[in-house]
Symmetry: T
Subunit: 149 residues, 12 copies
């Protein structure tokens, strides 16, 4: 079983900037923890990041056949990208939306997620732990071979 992790814009700045909101852990460190946990769960993980909306749409569009499930942190595109939403809905793979920060406790425009309604579920607010919980959820969804558990 292979899981695709998709990371949206600005996440490569993680750990260096706005640490009050996003914490001090870098994306590389998070990736390391995800791969470690993946080994425990005996699944493979591909871990990608891009600042380009089109790249993220490309990645998801090419996922069917290669991956059993997707874990996505769409970052800023959560709130603006109908294209990402359409991509997730189109490929129909079980998808878990994750966020480092609690998007419900921030600016008003961050409370609306365009992508969440086409994902299986959403996990937010737990920092790097959101990634590990997202992995666990994705593996469980992939095993039950359906979008809803």
């Amino acid at each position: 079983m292979r899981i695709l992790f998709v990371n949206g814009p600005n996440l490569k700045l993680l750990g260096r900037r706005e640490t009050g909101i996003y914490g001090r852990t870098s994306l590389a460190e998070i990736k390391k923890r995800v791969l470690q946990r993946a080994r425990t769960l005996r699944v493979l993980v591909d871990f990608r990041q891009s600042n380009h909306e089109g790249d993220l749409v490309d990645l998801i569009g090419a996922a069917p056949g290669r991956y059993s499930a997707i874990v996505i942190n769409p970052a800023a595109y959560t709130h603006t990208s109908v294209a990402l939403r359409d991509a997730i809905a189109a490929v129909g793979l079980p998808t878990v939306e994750i966020h480092l920060s609690n998007i419900h406790a921030r600016e008003n425009f961050r409370r609306r997620s365009l992508t969440a309604p086409v994902c299986a579920g959403q996990i937010c607010g737990f920092g790097p732990l959101s990634y590990l919980l997202g992995l666990e959820a994705a593996v469980s969804l992939a095993k039950s071979t359906g979008k809803r558990p």
Copy 2:
């Protein structure tokens, strides 16, 4: 370490009604799985349900000193109860909001959570698995002794 699970209105009907949305697992069955996982994590869990907003506020108000963290499925009160929000904010314990269904994929009024902004984070859409992920998050939050990881 002791974790309080708080379940809101109508959750005792779980497994018998609207199984298309909420699945076929009863609350008793979910409780069993949560206690099982709690044993693995070597924590204690109290598991409560009430249809009364006031009971839920009482439970949370009495939690400090007894519990290290709270996992709450406020159900319908998610969207209408400022009292629950104020209770969670007042006691200041690390709190995880969970939902069985993906509230972002349902009626419009279910997308607004009054309680989420004062919780550490939110997990929704994974059925009974939401409870287990919530437990894992709560234990992690309690260990780092702070509301944000």
Copy 3:
């Protein structure tokens, strides 16, 4: 056949207060008329009132198996209770929403009913007669054993 009548908050003050809006008939008097009409229709009626949202949710949650249909005057909770809405939707019994006053001719916030969309229909504006029409509708719905006639 047994029909459950559920009355929401403040209805026990009926007949003594704000008679300009709600009329001079007490809830006891309305109950008497409902029971009288029930005898004519050869059905049994249980007639309950509570100021507690949780009590009303309890009542409805316990209705399946005991009652063939529900007639509910949710009063103030019409406009604020997602919990009542979820309870009605969960038990799936044919339910008729009634109001003494014409809620469409009052304050703006009374025009939105959270419960009406999950009921079979709504009757409002006819004073105590709303209860008798509600009984007739509920009996008819129960006979056709479906939520929609």
Copy 4:
């Protein structure tokens, strides 16, 4: 005592089209049931239908002196016709608004009724039974010779 039944646009298509929403009973069949019930109640009924907003306004404007009460299913004009609202308000006869379907459970724009605030009350969601309940309410209102019971 004579009661005017006013039926708005598209109602003559009843029973043949969109039977999932409006049921399989034709307007002619409904009329038959209304007349039958009217005989039981010893009142006379005139039963009209038009697709023209102006015709409906004409009918209502000419009602005073001829009818003791009005039962109206304004259909689509419920949501768009200030002219119908003004006509009902102007003639001041006790008026009952009825709908076959539960307008609160349909598209958002169907939840606003321009006519309901100037009627005595509203009955919706019970199919042809809405007409019979409406007749009963109208007769009761006409007897108490006032708009509010």
Copy 5:
């Protein structure tokens, strides 16, 4: 010079109904006063009323070549008729919108006029005097042969 007076729905009930809002003068009486004043101003007046939106659109569509200006009391259609608005804009005759009551002091939905933006101006709140002021304005507009004075 010939001026067309167009009266919208329910205005033939004037003087008999809702006299608190619209006064006790009948439309016939108002017509008499308008014709009298027209003679003083040495202009001809045609005075029409219909409850049918389509009739009013027909009347206005046929006005060019016959009339120098239009005075219109669109009544309820003020707030709902894009068709009337389009008719007035299409024929391009100087048009004065009048109302008996002060529409700014009534229900919220009466404050929006769909027709006013395509008229030269609006006069409201002066009862039958609104008609005489409207005539005076229309004659003045027609003389200056332009829509704006």
Copy 6:
């Protein structure tokens, strides 16, 4: 195969008025071009216009059995007529909504079409060509005997 063309209010003024928005072609000229193209496509066309909402509802209500598809330019009623919407939905014939002007580039209230959601599709902005494209679409829809191609 027979196609019904329905034209809404003010369209008989076409070519003489507001030529900046609607162009200089009269409705008669457009009809001529439509009939010409219909002959090429070997279908029959009935071409109607009315300023009366009720007439348009009548026309559509009587269409089943006589026509295979409808092309409608609802003009002003696009934005205000729930009755037209209900008529189109009720008869269930494949229906194409057309507009001469680009309604998305005009006043805000013209961007909302009440009828489009119950039509197969919408064509707007191409002047008389909108009619010819609408004919082509309607014929294609009728041939595939389904509302969606």
Copy 7:
């Protein structure tokens, strides 16, 4: 009989600026025409202008006992001044709101008048003629000694 004319901010620039919207007539010229018409009607007129909201409130507050009616062109304060509204409501003199331009055909924020609901009526769009019609209306209102004709 004495009538107070109150002119709001920027009106002393009239005739020199934005002549496309407000015309080429100066306020002095308008005053001359108003006084002339006043002589014909055998009433006295005081004609004031100020750019200061407070001055306008002072003027109106001091009007009872000195004037029989007020004609006011509140200009920009129409849309922003609750103080003017309260002053007009407080003194209770018959008041006519006038505007040179058709405020319904301009920017959206000019369509809301805070003062119109407490005036007897509103006249707008007729240039300097608005002042003469306003005078005529005020005299008529003053004669019938009531705010509504």
Copy 8:
């Protein structure tokens, strides 16, 4: 003279939690100060608190005949409870709404009070002093035996 003090949800946590917003004084200490001041004013006071909306509605519904006036701090229910509003309106006793914090300076949803429109007035922002000012106002209202001073 006897005054009823009603305290809403979470107020028993006062003084221990969120002292930045609500101050360090406990509800017991506030009660002491209120009783002290009541003795000075020679009135009796009953001081209640509940987290249950239904309890608060019960308390108010039972107040007529026992109390001359009510002082209520509805806390979170201020913003969500139509039931409390209806209870206050129903019993018709002079009622003063109080708040410790300045609700106008907090989250947006706290600025809307559902209960204030049916109270005589509102006092907010003065910490425990709000209770003493509320007592003074209630006594004054009760003496003038009317809801408005």
Copy 9:
């Protein structure tokens, strides 16, 4: 200790106009009662009124160094003046907002106070008593030398 009382537009008309809303006591009479109570509390009071927003801003801007606290009834400017809000925020003196009427029970636009969020608190609905309660609150705030008690 010296307290500044600031009264906004139209308040000098008090007692003579709209006595149904504002009562029959004049501003002079209120001033007398305030000075009387001030003597009891052993503080000095300056009592000002102006219809000019700029005057009120001047008064507040000059207050630091002269006064220990401000009591302000901004009247109509409550709802429209960002300038007053900025003045109050700028000088940083403890400020109490008062209103004679219950602004929450009147027109919708009166429920929004631009000034309340920068005041310590608000007192409304108690007629002249609002002034005395405001004085008491201001003295208490000034003594604790901080904006929040």
Copy 10:
């Protein structure tokens, strides 16, 4: 004459995914039909697709001088891309917006098109036929060498 076809994000998944909404025809198959029809009309067509907003903006920005008209299916970017809108407006070529599905019959956020107001017109809801109608419209627009026919 050369026409540019621009296809937005996710369209290369066409025919394999969400066939209920978008049909079973692939983009390659649609391209084939468009080229075929282009040959009949004796025009050249370039047919492009990209998931990248920037690519689409590049394509349009480079179009002047190379193409006579544009047919664009902006897909998800229809609703979110001001950049595409600005590009279309900037190059000033006659542009036709097309959609496979009827965007007016889907989610609310799909009803707003940011690009339509700067296109000549819009065609939606006819599946692959939308492309052929779009081609026909574009050729006609290019021939009349103006944006509006």
Copy 11:
């Protein structure tokens, strides 16, 4: 060349109050810097401040003929004064709106500027430097003798 600087309410408190938002420089100091820079640019500057909306309107109304351009910091009136907007639009001088703070980063109601749409442009967020940049822009606009560069 002579430039008019207009400063709105509360700006004379600058440097003493809310230094966190507005900085520690007084208006006198800013004036000094502006005059200094003006000498370098060889232009004359008049520098005015008033708390009175009417004064600001007077100043602008009297500017034509005396000044070549205006630099205005409308402060609080930015968000509430249609009168200032009308004055700027009426005199037609090139006008630059400036703000010390970044109004886009403050309360929501400060993001709407009523005056900006009739100015040539807006500069905000740079503290006293905003004044110098405004001067530079105004001189440049005045030289090109047009409102837009």
Copy 12:
């Protein structure tokens, strides 16, 4: 000192298209003027343009360490890009937002800037001069080594 200039989508079309809004100066010409002024100020400037949101995010993300400040004209992305906003906030360099046109005087959706709240300030409406003023502001901000002057 080195300043980064970032130019958003469509700006390379400048000077050739929509010259009524954006003027006749090309981006190359603007760059020349900026470099010229930079030499005078003795700072270095890098001048970039891209139509790709992701490229702009990349540029900003890589800026820390290389540049002392950023001047950005986000063009269309001003109104839609949360990703750009997050990038600017993340890198924390002093940033100046500039626009050629006065965005407050154009379509409604252009008045909301997602990026302005995280910039130091905004300059708009002065054509190419906006770039020079932006440079001056950026240099000043960089010198004071803080985001706010």
